[in-house]
Structure formats: C-alpha cells, structure tokens
Symmetry: C2
Subunit: 334 residues, 2 copies
C-alpha cells in the first residue's frame, strides 16, 4: 500500500474522531467514562495486531520477531512520554485558557520537524523547513477567533510559565512521535509484533490510569471494570473503533513513512473537521479558516512535490542521456 493512501485514510478517520466524539455526547457531557475509551482502543489494536501476526506466522517465511529484553524494554517508553505529556498538558491549562492552549498546540508541528532532524538524522531541504513552518502558521491561522466571537484571545497575556509549559508539551508530543518512529524502524521486525509490544504497554498504562481514577474518586462509581461499558451506545463503540484504527494507521506510517507524513495527516484532519462542522453543526466559517486551508494546501505541495515540479531545474529539458542517468541515480540516493 502507498503511504499517501494510508495518510488519506488517517486524515478522514482522525477527522471523524472529533465529529463522533461530539455526537457521542449528550447535553454537552458524556454518559460514559471517557477514560475507558483509550483503554478499549488499545485492547482493540492489540487484538487486531495479534490476529494479523498469527496469520503472518501461518505463511512462510515466518515474520521476524526480536524477543530479547533489551529490545522489548524500549516499547513502554512512548507510553511513559505520553503520560508525562498528559500531566504537563494539565499543568499548562492551569496557566493558559483552552484557546491559547490550542494555538500553542501547533508548535508541535515545528518541534516534530526539529526532533526528526536531530534524533532521526533526516535531512530536510530549506523549502521543506519552510513548508513545515507554513503548516504550523496555516493551522494557527484557521484557529484565530473571528470578530463575532464572544471571548477574545488572551494569547499574549498569559503568565510566562504557561508558554514554557506549552513549549515543553510540544516537545514531549514530538519526542513521543519521533521515538516511536525510531522504534518501528530500528529493525525489520514484523510490524504486528512491534504493535503488540507497543499496545500491551499502552493497555497497561491506560488501565493504571483507570485504577488511579478509582482511588482518586474513592470508588464512588465502583471499580473501573464495572464502568467499562456503562453508558456505551453505538456511537461510543464507533469512537473506540475509530481511535483504534487511527492508532494502527499511525503505527504503519511510523514504520513505512515518517512523522512528517503523520503531522500533515493530522493537521489536514483538523481542517477537515472544521469544514465538516460547518455542515454538521452549523459552525460559522471564518475568513481565517479559508486562509488557513489555502496555506496548508500550499505547504503540503511544497513539502511533497518533487523539486523538479516546483522550480525550473536546469536538468529537466533536453538533457543528454548520460547526464540524465547520473541525476536520477543521485536523486534516488538522497
């Protein structure tokens, strides 16, 4: 399968996630315990990956699986980073309002680019760096509050701690992504075997969170397994399936494409959600939404289009055969 097909499906599913989550609410609240959703999604991903690994084992050659502890022990690290990230996120929100937090969230596009370059040693052209910057600017533009909206952006008036924590949050989010890509690509183990390790730890961490919630609330609503399916309806199950599926697609992208593809996919999903909200929830479109969409589309084209399509390369016209071969070889090398 081509990476851009997977990325497009991821965009559509990520976008549906926001819509489905909104549809699963009743009277502005959840009838179910929202913390059970990511846990069940991890279990779903674990089941799917196990089935796929089992099928892969039936065929020959049998899939490559590294089972040494030195390898397995790396797989809880993304979960640990996300755990820290969630706490930093919580701390950030005590200093800044949600609108400022949302705007700052776009920083993770840039931090992902930087960590991608530093840790994974992937070189980006000057134009690709600009494209990444533009993607962050485009998503931010689309989120700027319109003149008719009641509350005003307090974007420049939060305490400095808020901005520092927001930056830390963006770095942690990028680190988790870049680390996962490193894990998935460090050897040619079966994707499903890698998934099983990743999601087992994911399920454990999510379960720990549910247990912690139980203790925090003093078991008011009973132990977590009793809350697991209570208040669930068809939409809630769709939210779980959707979250699980996006997770599986992200794993695939981390192994066969990269973090930048994922960042584009989720940014486009954010814009798609806003466009769909115009039709589904009578959300009023703003000029800045249209501007943001145009900026992100240009960024997408700048990042992924082959350089020969963007600039007039001296090589493209009437090149002697020998010369063309040299250039093709070199471009596939890099």
């Amino acid at each position: 399968m081509q990476w851009y097909v997977v990325a497009s499906i991821l965009t559509i599913l990520t976008s549906s996630q926001g819509i489905l989550t909104t549809l699963s609410q009743s009277n502005g609240g959840y009838k179910y315990d929202y913390a059970t959703v990511p846990f069940l999604a991890e279990v779903f991903k674990l089941i799917v990956s196990s089935v796929l690994l089992w099928r892969e084992c039936q065929r020959s050659p049998s899939p490559k699986m590294t089972t040494e502890w030195t390898s397995v022990r790396l797989y809880p690290i993304p979960s640990i980073i996300y755990l820290i990230h969630n706490n930093v996120q919580f701390a950030t929100l005590t200093y800044v309002d949600t609108s400022t937090y949302q705007i700052m969230g776009n920083l993770k596009i840039v931090t992902t680019g930087i960590l991608f370059r530093l840790f994974l040693k992937r070189k980006l052209s000057n134009l690709q760096w600009m494209a990444i910057g533009l993607l962050a600017i485009g998503t931010t533009t689309s989120q700027v509050k319109g003149c008719g909206e009641a509350s005003c952006d307090s974007l420049f008036s939060s305490p400095i701690q808020g901005y520092m924590l927001g930056l830390l949050s963006a770095c942690l989010s990028a680190l988790a992504g870049v680390y996962t890509e490193f894990l998935m690509k460090k050897n040619n183990d079966s994707l499903y075997w890698q998934n099983i390790q990743l999601y087992t730890f994911g399920a454990i961490f999510n379960m720990a969170r549910l247990v912690l919630d139980d203790f925090r609330s003093g078991f008011d609503k009973g132990p977590w397994w009793q809350r697991l399916f209570s208040g669930y309806d068809i939409t809630t199950w769709l939210v779980v399936l959707n979250l699980g599926s996006t997770g599986l697609l992200v794993s695939w992208l981390m192994k066969y494409a990269d973090n930048i593809v994922k960042v584009y996919s989720t940014s486009m999903a954010m814009l798609l959600t806003m466009v769909l909200s115009v039709f589904l929830f009578n959300f009023k479109p703003t000029v800045q939404l249209y501007l943001g969409i145009m900026i992100c589309m240009m960024s997408l084209h700048m990042y992924f289009a082959p350089p020969s399509m963007l600039v007039d390369l001296p090589l493209t016209t009437k090149t002697p055969q020998s010369l063309r071969e040299v250039s093709v070889d070199r471009s596939t090398d890099s």
Copy 2:
C-alpha cells in the same frame, strides 16, 4: 544601484506615506484639499526628472530619446487606466464596506502575476506562483479583524456586483502596472525622458480632476489654484515629497526590475505600516498580524531565493566538471 536597495527604500517610503498622511490630519479630517497632493507630487516628479535629464544631456553620450508621436501617445494610457480604476473603486465602495474592499485589494497581487505572465510573457516557476499566492494570503491574514474589534467582517454578505467590481478593480490596477512596465522596457530611452512623458500626462489628468471638482462644487471654495497650498503645513509638504519620491522609485523599478518586485515592496510596506502603527498610534497588534508577517516573509524568500538554496539540487555536490558546465550554461539561458 541594485534593485533590492531601491525596493527597500520604496518599502520604507510607502510605509511612511500612510503614517505621514495620518499625521497630516487634524481632528480626523484634512485642513487642506487632499486632491491637490497627487497633483503637486506629479509636478515634483516632473521637475526632478527634468533636472536629471538636463544633467544627462550635458554628458556624452547624450541620452536616447524617442520623440515620435507613435511612441509619445502611449504615455497617457497608464493615467487613463488609473482614472477608470478610481471610478470603479468608487462604484465598488457603494456595494461593499471599506474592510471588505481592503481585503479584496489583495487580489491585485494575484492579477498582477497573471497579467505579468500573459502580457509581458514572463515565465514564473510553480514555486514563484505559490509565493505570489502566499503573499496575497499573508497580507489578507494580517488584515483579518480581531475578536475584540467592534464591527464584524461582512466579507461574505456583500452583493455579487461588489465582488465583480472588486475583481475588475484588481485587474485594472494590475493592468496599469504591467502596462507601465511594458512602456519603460519597450526601448532603451533614458528613464528620465520616459518619466517626463509619463508625469506630464499624470499632471494633466490630476489637474483635470481638480477642475472637475471645481465644477462639481460650483466653485464654492474658489478655483483649484487658490486651494493649491491652503492649509499646507510642513507635514503636508512631506506627504507631497514622499508621494513624489515613491513615484520616481516605482518608475525606476518598472524599468530595471519588474512589477512583482513592486508588489512585494508595497505589500511589505503595508505590513511595516501596521507594525509602526503599534508603536506610533497604540494600535493593538493581533495574532493575525504576526501570522501575516511570517507568511509574507516566507513568500519573499520563496520568490527571490535562488532554487539551489531552496531545494537540494542533484547537481550541487561532487558533479563532474563537464556536467557542471552544462548546467551553468543552461541556468543562465533560462
């Protein structure tokens, strides 16, 4: 002189124009007749160009001057286009509010690119087209009303005639620029001789406008020459000198650079004016202003940076000597 030095000076002077015009007002109005300013600016440009041409004539070789009627008769055309443009602008404002008109004004960046391609047959790379699009998006972004501002953009609610006239206005403005570039470049006549022809007609058309105002107002304030310097103070004279100087710089750019350079220069001036207004007039900066500035800076870099700086050209590293020569020849050809 390098074109980017001239373009930078033009940016600073164009930006000062807005500031000076605001400073020349008293109690929100003009003590002087604003229509006299462009007329005096034309006269100023005419005097400066005449002096410079006279100095050029003292030296040898004497400057080239085409005096045939078939050439001279082309010089009133830019003035005629501006005259039509001003009337279309007036008609547009009966359908749309000034804020919508200002936003639509950014369309002229795109129409200039298109007419530049169609009439002057200048080829632009895919990336340069994107840069022009981004410049228009960036200037629009900076103008989007903030959430704290009282009146709300009625950008999508004007009658269709308003948008059509706005588009026509953008086309006429671009046509005047592109036609002037054609005039300045069609032969290697002295720039000052070309200026004299251009500004003579400019002065005549501006004078005609003053006479027309006289008839419209029924000579309430006396004939136009009596209004010429009334209410003028030092700031008003600075406005005249500034407008004249920017005109001279634009002529220079039209001959030795091009319309796209001018468009970048005036767009950057618009942003600079907004930034200066923050300091001078306690104008409150919005997030969209910062976003707009970043977008325009990226657009500038995308348009003017050499392709080899933007993308990793296969040729740049360890190219055999013969191959490098081929590519250098070709890039200077195009």
